[in-house]
Symmetry: C2
DNA sequence: TCGTTAAATAATCAAAATGTTATATAGTGT
DNA sequence: ACACTATATAACATTTTGATTATTTAACGA
């Protein structure tokens, strides 16, 4: 697996969805897979492997189950990278929040993207 | 080009390097390409197209040249996404900065695991 | 040990991304 | 109009990714 980096790991929408799911609580593989009816269990396991390699999730063994938990520190790489561009942003971190709020508000009018 | 999203756009290291470069100032394609001796000009143009589609850069025509400029608002999508995980981070935004600083400092003794 | 359950890995395939060379498009200056 | 410069696009080969089915590994309970 060449994918040992955070950027590549979050490039895939399914993996982002898995992270979003885990953000709401840790789960075992079967439970995760159940949320993705379009995918098979091995497919989900492979995505989890990519997330593991990127250090975005953590596994703990519990009987035959593997409980996956989010490990958000892994996102720090990404955070650092984005932070480099903050100086070119509207203004400071504080102003950014307002900017995002405004943007989110404006978004309601149109069909959401992403 | 299926890649109209920021996540996929920044997944590629060359494109991140282009953004880093543009963060230091706008440039025309030839100047950008000169920074990537391993790539040909059409290769660079293709990466620029992906960045354009992701709205991460802006082009202005100047004679026969195309001047590319970074458009960091496009990174807001990413920022929003990461922000969702901030609550699970060490602490607040403020604490995060300290966290990153500490991390950066600790990084000097290489080979860490997180 | 046997049968069941849970998840990972292997083999394989199709689709997408990346890079190349060749060519087209478009603006400049004469 | 012509030659020149700058960049984009087309066509194509190669590599990587994402998904599937089949199989393996491992833990559990009877």
């Amino acid at each position: 697996m060449t994918t040992t980096n955070v950027f590549a790991a979050i490039a895939d929408p399914t993996r982002r969805a898995i992270l979003d799911l885990l953000a709401r609580g840790s789960r075992n593989v079967g439970t995760i897979a159940a949320e993705f009816p379009r995918l098979t269990q091995p497919g989900v396991s492979r995505h989890l492997k990519v997330l593991r390699n990127a250090r975005l999730v953590d596994v703990t063994v519990q009987a035959q189950q593997r409980i996956y938990a989010i490990k958000p520190e892994g996102l720090a790489d990404l955070y650092e990278w984005v932070a480099k561009y903050q100086s070119m942003w509207p203004d400071t971190l504080e102003a950014l929040e307002h900017y995002l709020d405004a943007r989110a508000a404006g978004e309601k009018a149109k069909g959401k993207k992403r």
